[in-house]
Structure formats: structure tokens, C-alpha cells
């Protein structure tokens, strides 16, 4: 990924942690923005899906966080950075079906343990780092043209 190319759009969206009050608001905004930029709908939809899963995880597990959206002519870069409990075993967390969701999260319709694998599957580049007691960082890239980067 060539992150030095011209950034045509960049914005940081704060996300409230441990609260579903505004959950999904950033993703709705991101999707609308990308569609306004005339990004093909299938691409915008994938970007919205990964943003939404990342946003919901911040709302579910983190104390607070933010989502950074950057758009270049070739790619959509989404970073989700939070401060909070972090993830002890990333490999386990990535497994479909693994979840530590609580009642509060289930009631909202989450806790299938699909979020992180959805993020990996719907993005062309996916990278996660996390530190217990500190927080989690996700970086996802979705190519706008069809020259895919190959999944990581």
C-alpha cells in the first residue's frame, strides 16, 4: 500500500466507548461520504461494513476511541484506535465464533464473534495490534480500483 499518494480526504471521528448511544453513527457518515465521493457502491459498502464492525467493537469493549478515514485516488484507509482493555489473545479473538460479549452487547445484536473476521474478509489489507490494559489498533485498506493488494 502506497500511503504516500495524494490524500483527497481525511477525517477523524471520535467514538464513545462502552456505550451504544451513538453506535453506528460514524459508519453511516463514512458510507455517505464515500458515496458522495462517487466511490463505487460495492467498495463503499465494504468500507462501511469494516468501519461498522470496528466502531461496534469500540462501543462494546473500549473506554474510548476514534476512527480515522483517509481516501486516496486508489484506496480507502480506515484506522480504528482505542484505549481500553485490549485483547489478550489476538489469534483466538480472530476466530469466527470467539466472543467475550456480555448481555448488554447481545441485546444490541452483537456477540456472534464474527466482527474481526468480517473486517479481515471485507478488506484488502488488515492489521491488528493490541496491548492488554492499553488498547487496540486496527488498520484496514480497501482498494478502490480492482488491483487487489492480497489479503494479509
Amino acid at each position: 500500500m502506497n500511503s504516500h499518494e495524494t490524500v483527497v480526504y481525511e477525517n477523524t471521528f471520535p467514538v464513545e466507548g462502552k456505550s451504544f448511544n451513538n453506535a453506528g453513527q460514524v459508519s453511516t457518515q463514512v458510507k455517505a461520504l464515500l458515496q458522495k465521493m462517487k466511490i463505487p457502491i460495492k467498495i463503499a459498502r465494504r468500507a462501511a461494513i469494516v468501519t461498522y464492525e470496528a466502531e461496534i467493537n469500540i462501543c462494546s469493549y473500549a473506554d474510548h476511541g476514534k476512527i480515522i478515514l483517509r481516501v486516496t485516488p486508489e484506496e480507502i484507509i480506515i484506522e480504528a484506535i482505542d484505549e481500553g482493555q485490549g485483547i489478550a489473545d489476538i489469534e483466538a479473538a480472530m476466530e469466527e465464533g470467539f466472543s467475550t460479549a456480555t448481555e448488554r452487547i447481545w441485546r444490541m445484536g452483537f456477540g456472534a464473534g464474527m466482527g474481526l473476521s468480517n473486517m479481515r474478509n471485507f478488506s484488502d489489507y488488515f492489521h491488528i495490534t493490541s496491548e492488554v490494559g492499553k488498547g487496540t489498533r486496527l488498520k484496514m485498506i480497501i482498494c478502490i480500483d480492482d488491483k487487489h493488494l492480497g489479503k494479509q
Binding site: R45, Y52, E53, M108, G109, M114
Partner: protein, 124 residues
């Protein structure tokens, strides 16, 4: 078929989208877990769900779901209705349980947005 026909089949109440009942739908997906919806549902489908909170609207917006059908006689929360109005996503409610809702629609020609989950899933 049109959403209006869906409404008739399910004897459904229209909570949001009276003016959108002429949209065409062919496929549906049913789930109460939003990440399963995000993994498997396809744009233009109906979402059949027993959930009533605003996340059903957020999920539908992200995926371009055509309309939400709330099953088991539940009603959307007021904040769910407000958000659906804002994002122009129709919400219907039916007294039928999920199984009956799906069966009645299937009998009239609505099919699943995917049939089975294949090993080579498509993520686009």
C-alpha cells in the same frame, strides 16, 4: 415482488416507509445477530429479525438492505423509527414468528440471499 405484496402476505404493520412500498424485493436474510447479517446478507434483500434497536437500521444502511421486517409482533423502539426515517429504510412489523415469516415469503417466491454458506465465500 413489491414491498406492498410482502406487507399483504405478512399482514404487516408499516412503521416506516409508507411511500416506499413499491420497491421490488426478491431475496431475504433472517438473523438476530448483526455480525451474521453483515457476513452473509446481500444488498437489496429484506432483513427479517426479532431485534428492535437502532442497530438493525445501522446494519441495513451499511449493507443497503431494502427493508426491515420485525417478526414476533415486536415493535421498533422510538429511536429506531427516527433513525429509519432519517436513513429512509422501511420497517414493517408482523405477528408471525421468524419461521412462519420466512415460510410465507418463500412460498410466494422470495428466496434466501444466499442458499448455503460455501467455503469460498464472496466478500463483495
Amino acid at each position: 415482488m413489491t414491498l406492498r405484496e410482502v406487507q399483504k402476505i405478512l399482514e404487516a404493520e408499516v412503521f416506516v416507509g409508507y411511500d416506499q412500498l413499491d420497491i421490488e424485493v426478491k431475496t431475504a436474510f433472517g438473523a438476530d445477530l448483526m455480525s451474521d447479517v453483515l457476513a452473509f446478507a446481500k444488498a437489496g434483500s429484506l432483513l427479517l429479525t426479532g431485534l428492535t434497536n437502532p442497530q438493525i437500521v445501522r446494519t441495513s444502511d451499511v449493507l443497503d438492505i431494502a427493508a426491515i421486517i420485525i417478526v414476533r409482533g415486536k415493535r421498533p423502539l422510538p429511536e429506531t423509527i427516527l433513525l429509519a426515517e432519517e436513513l429512509k429504510i422501511p420497517i414493517l412489523g408482523t405477528k408471525y414468528i421468524l419461521f412462519e415469516t420466512a415460510g410465507r415469503l418463500y412460498a410466494k417466491g422470495i428466496v434466501g440471499c444466499i442458499e448455503t454458506v460455501s467455503a469460498t465465500r464472496e466478500f463483495s
